[in-house]
């Protein structure tokens, strides 16, 4: 069986900035992989590379055995952006945003059919946003906003989900709710690549973890990757034994 995500030897530069340096990563289907790294370590860039948004100088990406373009056309990839990239004042309702996840399933005019409305209602219910569905997207709390974009990905029903910091600025309750959802999605056979700064949560959520610092420093069992020695080796700094000293 082909890997859900297969990045081979990807090097990405923004002008003079080397953001990814020969990154290779293979992720088996039906797993949750935590993507860890400091600010600026290239997590978002790796997502963009998998999405084919930034051209790699070098290297290739395959998703479930397909080229990136084919995978995208077939609706195999879903993306939950980092919140900074969203225009929260945009005049769309939560429901409209979630409906956008269905566009790949629709005809050229993107007219919603009953099946699309059902999928949207279902996704809203799963993310507990049903009561807020008619609010403007910016009229939500930070945690609710995150859930709205997770709902969009659920409505899209993509096999491979890329979530860029879904837990940033989210309280404990929303966080455990989102984790629970992600675990359910894995149960249903989706593959998830999730970047996060919250190391404490990684062992419970992730089947494996990747430590990124422009290069892949470590990839494997979360307990292994989060071992103080690995972190120390990777960054050459002292930790207090909980592996938290390097996070911002």
């Amino acid at each position: 069986m082909s890997a859900a995500i297969e990045v081979t030897d990807a090097t990405v530069r923004y002008g003079d900035v080397l953001a990814l340096d020969a990154v290779s990563l293979s992720l088996a289907p039906g797993r949750i992989c935590g993507l860890l790294g400091t600010n600026g370590s290239g997590k978002s860039t790796l997502f963009k590379t998998v999405l084919g948004l930034v051209p790699a100088d070098h290297g290739s990406v395959r998703i479930l055995g397909h080229t990136g373009a084919t995978a995208r056309r077939r609706g195999l990839v879903g993306y939950v952006p980092q919140s900074e990239q969203v225009d929260w004042a945009f005049p769309v309702r939560v429901r409209d945003v979630v409906m956008m996840g269905r566009y790949g399933h629709m005809g050229r005019r993107r007219r919603a059919r009953p099946a699309d409305r059902e999928a949207v209602d279902h996704a809203l219910a799963r993310t507990r946003l049903s009561d807020l569905a008619d609010r403007q997207i910016g009229a939500l709390s930070g945690g609710q906003r995150k859930r709205a974009f997770v709902a969009r990905a659920i409505a899209q029903n993509a096999d491979v989900l890329l979530l860029d910091e879904p837990f940033a600025g989210v309280d404990k309750r929303s966080e455990s709710h989102i984790s629970e959802l992600l675990l359910q999605l894995r149960q249903e056979g989706h593959t998830l690549l999730v970047s996060t700064h919250d190391l404490a949560q990684v062992p419970a959520l992730c089947d494996e973890a990747v430590l990124l610092q422009r290069r892949v420093i470590a990839h494997g069992d979360p307990a292994e990757v989060l071992r103080p020695e690995t972190l120390m080796e990777a960054f050459g700094i002292h930790t207090d034994g909980r592996g938290a000293a390097w996070t911002p």
């Binding site: 948004l53 995208r72 609706g75 993306y79 952006p81 956008m100």
Partner: protein, 294 residues
């Protein structure tokens, strides 16, 4: 004569003139086409682009007159051409986009001015720059109707994709919907609407038509579909008000249409139920008062 008859006649008397009816047709059609597009312009932040395209069509209009072509042909070539040029320079140099836009449109406009000074006097610079909606030819009317029809059809067919592009181009890309194509479509439509609106208000004021109605509607609603409707309604009402008032006052029609739009914007800015400045002040005062009384 009672007030009602006075009001009725304010409308019926001008309608007796053929040139007024034609001006109404052109202004409303151009206004609505621009207004619909202006909703995306507002949300994507392309106001400066609208300004650029409108000025850049000048040499195209002049050349069309020189070679006896329909004015829309030259205008479209130069409108779309300058958009492409802006994109190309932007991609291949380190100069920021607003500077590139500034360079390209002023250069195009300057070229137009130079060309005009070489053409025999039957092309009236004033009419091109400031519009002459009370004196449009049949040919111009047909060009406006056809192009506005093209814009409205394209928008009707693609509006959900365009909104997706405006809201989240990355998500569009992730679903295999090409955002570059949608961007090109939106820029193409912008070029066409600018050409449509030229006949109504002239080159200088076209940019108002692709900004003000959308910005006004944005102040009034949080729903995109409603924004389209409100924007079109504002533009249509402004066109009607502008044409009739200019008949009675004997002043620039294009100027009055844009002033009417600006008045609508001012009203929305001050008194919009949700986003109006007046209520924001009142809400803040109420909160302060409550804080003061404990």
């Amino acid at each position: 004569m009672d007030a009602l008859t006075a009001v009725t006649e304010w409308f019926t008397v001008p309608l007796g003139f053929d040139f007024v009816r034609r001006a109404l047709l052109i202004s409303v059609v151009a206004g609505v086409a621009c207004a619909v597009l202006s909703c995306w312009m507002t949300l994507v932040g392309w106001s400066l682009m609208g300004d650029a395209v409108s000025h850049a069509v000048l040499p195209g209009v002049v050349l069309s007159y020189m070679f006896g072509l329909p004015f829309a042909v030259g205008a479209l070539v130069f409108g779309a051409g300058s958009v492409a040029l802006i994109g190309a320079v932007n991609r291949t140099s380190r100069v920021k986009e607003d500077a590139v836009i500034g360079v390209v449109f002023t250069a195009m406009f300057a070229l137009g001015l130079v060309l005009i000074s070489r053409v025999p006097s039957q092309t009236d610079l004033g009419h091109i720059l400031f519009g002459n909606v009370l004196g449009v030819s049949d040919a111009a009317i047909w060009q406006v109707l056809v192009l506005a029809g093209v814009v409205l059809t394209a928008v009707w067919y693609k509006h959900r994709d365009l909104t997706l592009y405006a809201f989240d181009p990355v998500h569009a890309h992730a679903m295999g919907i090409n955002p570059r194509l949608l961007e090109t479509l939106l820029l193409g439509l912008l070029s066409v609407t600018v050409v449509v609106a030229l006949q109504a208000v002239g080159i200088i004021l076209v940019v108002a038509m692709v900004i003000i109605p959308g910005a006004t509607a944005y102040l009034l609603t949080d729903r995109f579909e409603r924004m389209l409707v409100i924007s079109a309604a504002v533009a249509a009402a402004a066109a009607v008000a502008g044409v009739f008032a200019s008949f009675h006052m004997n002043v620039s029609t294009g100027g009055l249409i844009v002033l009417a739009q600006a008045a609508a914007f001012a009203l929305a800015y001050l008194a919009s139920p949700r986003h109006g400045v007046l209520w924001r002040g009142r809400t803040a005062r109420r909160i302060r008062a409550r804080a003061a009384t404990g």
